[in-house]
């Protein structure tokens, strides 16, 4: 029977369709059959590009196995700051994100990161446990997984050492002596002292090696004003004036790599990326046919009168809690942190990217080339930049504003006395820490 041209069957079909559309609109979700699960991951380009290729391979493989459409976005590490901030501000963007350099993001974005306690607990036993578990807990929680660090050994030109009658150095004083001799023959020592991440790393390493620090264990007391800091500053002033060129004040993170690979610097404090690129590009020693990679050696991060300590970029991975795919993201993290996958990933990076997991520090790659032999030793003495204090948004801000490099530079260049430079840094740090406390 039809009524005004509409059959009963047509009427039922139309009504059911309308009810379905209304349901979809009300729930705000596509029906299960039409849903395409998608997971996006924002990360930073590695200095060893094969690392990114391996990560992409694993992400694609996981996506294919789980029928999830995956998207890996790789950006330059300097762009990550603004990208993270805009995603948090908009509560929208990628599901998984690289965080860092440093653990400070976990404190800064604490309210926007999903808890990863379950994943951290799952992946640790399979990989021999976390290296220093308490360092990575922010306010007692796993808000991110520490992912990889590029340990900071010292790279040295063995041919130049021979020329000046020296052997592989071990202490900061050795490096000062070698730098002086090297500078005299046109091959200075090189470490950044300007607004760059490497400057933070090396100058903090020197501070700790001389017994100084900028914040106490309580994460509140500013400890920069000490006689140990003065000793460290005197040492850096000598290093700057006697063993280095003034250009280090304007160096970026790649400048020391260029200095070593161009045959100028006798030694640099840096991850193995300079050596890797020299080997890959077959860079030769200027004026000879000899490959520069053949005359580079890597030794442990230097020891000071008090300690042997260093830091590095703590690159981490987290899941935004405003993501609609938190469980999927955690699932991928479990997959990526499986021993076989991490092993392949470390191998692809030629040891540049060392995970914060005990078994991975013993990866065969570190025995595959004598250049990598000290990297596990460096990892053992690597601590977060806020050491001995906890990582907080304030400790991260001290690094972001380059207070420590500026303190050293102001004294080394004679712009300030040691006392003035320390007082300046102390005031800036106190203001940063006080400003962060007001909010809590």
């Amino acid at each position: 029977m039809t009524s005004r041209g509409v059959s009963r069957r047509q009427f039922l079909r139309t009504s059911a369709g309308a009810a379905g559309v209304a349901g979809i609109l009300a729930s705000g979700r596509a029906p299960a059959t039409a849903q395409t699960r998608e997971l996006s991951f924002l990360t930073v380009a590695s200095f060893v590009p094969d690392t990114d290729k391996e990560l992409k391979r694993q992400f694609d493989e996981w996506g294919a196995k789980n029928k999830v459409k995956v998207r890996l976005d790789i950006i330059a590490h300097l762009q990550l700051v603004t990208k993270k901030a805009s995603e948090v501000q908009a509560r929208s963007g990628h599901d998984l994100t690289a965080l860092g350099p440093g653990l400070g993001d976990a404190d800064l974005y604490y309210d926007y990161l999903a808890d990863l306690n379950d994943v951290a607990t799952d992946v640790a036993p399979k990989n021999g446990g976390w290296l220093n578990e308490h360092d990575y807990l922010i306010r007692g929680k796993w808000k991110l997984l520490p992912w990889w660090m590029p340990p900071f050994p010292m790279a040295v030109r063995t041919d130049l050492l021979e020329k000046i009658g020296e052997k592989n150095p071990d202490t900061w004083e050795d490096w000062l002596r070698i730098g002086k001799k090297g500078k005299a023959i046109g091959h200075p020592f090189g470490t950044a002292m300007g607004h760059s991440a490497d400057a933070n790393v090396t100058l903090l390493s020197i501070m700790w090696s001389y017994g100084a620090s900028y914040v106490g264990k309580d994460g509140k007391t500013i400890t920069i004003n000490s006689k140990e800091t003065r000793t460290a500053m005197d040492f850096v002033k000598r290093l700057y004036t006697e063993a280095m060129d003034p250009e280090v004040l304007a160096w970026d993170d790649a400048s020391n790599n260029r200095c070593l690979n161009a045959g100028k610097c006798i030694g640099i404090h840096n991850p193995i990326s300079a050596y890797e690129s020299a080997k890959k590009d077959k860079v030769v020693v200027p004026g000879s046919q000899r490959e520069i990679a053949e005359v580079i050696d890597h030794v442990n991060t230097p020891r000071g009168p008090v300690d042997r300590k260093t830091t590095t970029g703590y690159w981490c991975v987290g899941v935004w809690n405003f993501s609609k795919n938190v469980d999927l993201a955690k699932d991928f993290l479990r997959y990526h942190f499986q021993p076989e996958n991490l092993n392949k990933w470390v191998e692809a990076g030629h040891g540049f990217n060392m995970p914060f997991l005990a078994n991975l520090t013993k990866h065969p790659v570190y025995k595959s080339d004598k250049q990598y032999r000290h990297i596990p030793d460096v990892a053992k003495v690597t601590v977060p930049p806020s050491w001995p204090g906890p990582t907080t948004a304030a400790s991260q801000q001290v690094l972001d504003l380059y207070i420590i490099p500026d303190m050293f530079a102001q004294y080394s260049t004679g712009k300030m006395t040691a006392d003035q430079a320390i007082a300046w840094a102390e005031k800036e740090m106190q203001e940063i820490y006080a400003g962060r406390r007001r909010k809590v």
Binding site: A85, R91, D111, E247, L249, A250, Q397, E431, K439
Partner: protein
């Protein structure tokens, strides 16, 4: 004449029982309503793209907002803290020196370039187009090239100077705090020069030739003609160009970020780069906004003085 709002008109049409289309065509037929209708898109554009961000940043500067949070009201606390920070005081000084030096150079060189371009007869279009290149090329890209030229280790400028035996050592363009400031001023001048030159050239072209002929017959030389004819008649154009350039220069970000990142020792930090470091890198949105808004009263004063000068010179 009484202004009738669109809503009132709509209400009346509803009472009269007119169709919306008929009402719209009637409304547009009236000059006032049509004017409002045409101005409305621009008004809403300004409201959402200028007024809203401005009010929001004003709120941020008076709050302890952080990334992802709107924050709570803290009054002028952010500004008080900034004034107690030696990095900010340094930034303030840097911004003043940078703007004054770059504006001065751009005005003098821009005028010289405009006068040169005015005299060029052959390949006029090609040369004028080429002069605009620094202004057209994306700043981040062109600044990277400048960075390469002044790069601490392999500066091509140093290489050339040494090759020509002008100097016998590397000049620390970027590591030296004062030379670093000179370098960022130089790059900003290079980038902003075409804006000055082309705008002043347009002003030069519009000056009647008879005035020069009259000045010449009165015995005025080239300097006299420039001083008594060109400069007074270019004053309104010059004032507007300086006004715009002051705003752009004071708010510069790319050049400093690419060349020095505010270093060495914060000696090249400008408002925008320090605001970026505080607001985005450290997540202190409130403080970052306060740094940016420190510019506002300064710019307001600059705009006020400039516009008064323009008005005075045009009413004379």
């Amino acid at each position: 004449m009484r202004l009738e709002t669109l809503n009132e008109g709509a209400a009346k049409t509803a009472v009269r029982g007119e169709t919306p289309t008929r009402w719209l065509s009637r409304a547009l037929a009236s000059d006032t309503s049509a004017a409002y209708a045409f101005v409305a898109p621009a008004f809403f554009l300004l409201l959402f793209l200028v007024a809203y961000p401005f009010v929001l940043s004003l709120w941020f500067s008076l709050s302890d907002a952080r990334v992802g949070e709107t924050g709570s009201f803290v009054g002028l606390d952010n500004f008080r803290r900034l004034l107690g920070s030696s990095i900010f005081i340094q930034t303030l000084q840097n911004s003043m020196v940078f703007t004054a030096a770059a504006l001065g150079l751009k005005t003098v060189l821009g005028m010289a370039l405009a006068l040169l371009l005015f005299r060029v007869a052959r390949f006029k279009r090609l040369i004028r187009g080429a002069v605009l290149l620094p202004f057209i090329v994306p700043t981040a890209l062109s600044t990277l090239v400048w960075w390469w030229m002044f790069e601490p280790m392999y500066s091509v400028v140093n290489w050339t100077l040494k090759g020509l035996h002008i100097v016998n050592h590397d000049i620390p363009w970027l590591p030296d705090p004062y030379l670093a400031m000179c370098t960022v001023v130089l790059v900003n001048t290079w980038r902003g020069l075409p804006f000055f030159a082309i705008t002043l050239l347009a002003g030069l072209v519009s000056i009647p030739r008879e005035l020069y002929e009259a000045a010449e017959s009165d015995g005025a030389g080239p300097v006299g003609r420039f001083w008594h004819v060109t400069l007074p008649l270019l004053q309104p154009v010059l004032a507007v160009v300086i006004l715009f350039s002051a705003i752009f220069t004071l708010a510069d970000f790319n050049i400093v970020y690419v060349l020095t990142k505010g270093g060495p020792m914060n000696m090249t930090h400008l408002f925008a780069t320090y605001s970026f470091a505080l607001g985005l890198q450290s997540g202190q949105v409130g403080q970052g906004a306060a740094v940016s808004l420190f510019l506002f009263p300064i710019l307001l004063a600059v705009v006020f003085v400039q516009l008064r000068l323009v008005r005075q010179s045009t009413t004379l």
